[in-house]
Symmetry: C2
Subunit: 270 residues, 2 copies
């Protein structure tokens, strides 16, 4: 039997990108996908797929054991707003939830990962086969941030890190050293829309990893869609964290930003 990996697939394009990369490395990909979250076309890329509802942890474990999977990855998020509806926790998940003191995002994911490791699985980083998707340091666009925007990046970075430390969210929208919008459960696109509208033109978007980020899941990600949202509200700068942010569709994202005269900067700060 060849190399096999278990894919716990969330939403977005990342599960498909991951699958292509893993198969290129010679891995078979056995997926558990979430109804209403995971892109249905993932079926066309993986070797096997099982569809479950969000929260069916017992079923997920049973499936991967039956398939003799040892290594697992979480790829793609589950929309946090789903946590308040459309969730069908089975007994296993309920027991886990009951043990959680804070039902924070990361705490919950970490608890699930720990539970899986107790069951004998190894949870690997989602960036395993796709290190090339991690943002390199530097300015990716033709347009560089202005002096004033650099101040906003610096200020927004501190704020986003503080918000991340509280395990609330990863993204803030800033203008003239005022935090215009903070991301919580609504997600990055909504935050950019709200912040961009309130700031009128020229907002600066900062998206960073949490200080205690577990790179096994919920790595910050940006893509073409991020720039489209920014264009919509005339935001001007996207600042991300080098080596800790996934960029999907990099070429198209950067060329779109260049067309729209938007700056994308990837920074490394302690």
């Amino acid at each position: 039997m060849g190399k096999r990996i278990g894919l716990i697939a969330g939403n977005g394009q990342f599960p498909i990108i991951f699958t292509k990369a893993a198969r290129k490395e010679g891995y078979e990909v056995i997926a558990v996908a979430h109804i209403g979250e995971t892109e249905p076309s993932l079926e066309n890329y993986v070797n096997e797929i099982e569809w479950i509802r969000v929260g069916q942890l017992g079923r997920l474990i049973k499936f991967f054991k039956k398939k003799n999977i040892k290594e697992l990855v979480f790829v793609g998020g589950i929309k946090k707003k789903k946590l308040f509806s459309n969730i069908f926790p089975d007994l296993k998940a309920l027991t886990l939830l009951a043990r959680l003191r804070h039902k924070h995002d990361d705490a919950a994911l970490r608890a699930v990962a720990d539970e899986l490791e107790r069951e004998g699985f190894i949870v690997c980083p989602s960036t395993l086969f796709v290190p090339s998707l991690l943002a390199e340091e530097g300015c990716l666009t033709n347009r560089k941030p202005t002096k004033e925007e650099k101040k906003d990046i610096e200020f927004g970075w501190q704020m986003a890190k503080a918000i991340g430390k509280l395990d609330i969210g990863q993204c803030v929208v800033v203008k003239r050293q005022v935090v215009v919008a903070v991301e919580a459960v609504e997600g990055t696109d909504e935050t950019i829309k709200r912040g961009g509208r309130l700031a009128k033109e020229g907002a600066v978007v900062v998206k960073v990893s949490k200080p205690n980020q577990d790179l096994r899941f919920d790595v910050p990600a940006v893509g073409k869609g991020t720039i489209e949202t920014m264009m919509h509200v005339k935001a001007k700068v996207l600042a991300i964290e080098a080596k800790r942010t996934l960029i999907f569709d990099k070429e198209r994202m950067v060329s779109l930003a260049n067309e729209a005269d938007i700056s994308i900067v990837s920074l490394k700060k302690s």
Copy 2:
């Protein structure tokens, strides 16, 4: 000449409430009101009024000096989103803005207050004549928070204080110990709407003063409108800070909450 006080009027009903209370105490109220922000009917309550645009600080100073005003109060906010549009800073205001390192809300207000004091004015707390509007400790409604909601209040309190310490905002919406929405520039009502919608039913709203709150301005305030917004999204609990929150329209607010089976709790925590 009798006792006179200078009123720097922002939006909402607070300037009118303040004026009535001050005149009852025998004060003449001389107001500077902000076009597009201040309720036009304030004219009917004050002794004199001067309408300016947001940012005309030099003009404000000149007016109060001409009127021989010594004591000033800031009453009612300027919608923070206005800070990015409709602002017409005069030379005085521009000089001030240029000196500010961070253009945070509080920092900006404090700088304006400091400037006014340098000009010889005394800036008094906005609660001067209305101590009765400050929330007393206790549960104000028939409905008491459940055990689970108490956990959310405890958790939300810590989060809101942390957000306040960063000078971002004063309000968070929480459910099952997850921060669903954080207030920044959009204001409390928008935050409740967003958080309440994402949480589905049963959200807990926590609104507190900032750890470094300067009670001269921007004291947290709630009223009937807060409860109406909560009803709209089926939120269940409003937690506020005793002695550091203004309640407008208290009777109507509490009776509305009772009708809607909403809890209002006013707490004192260090």
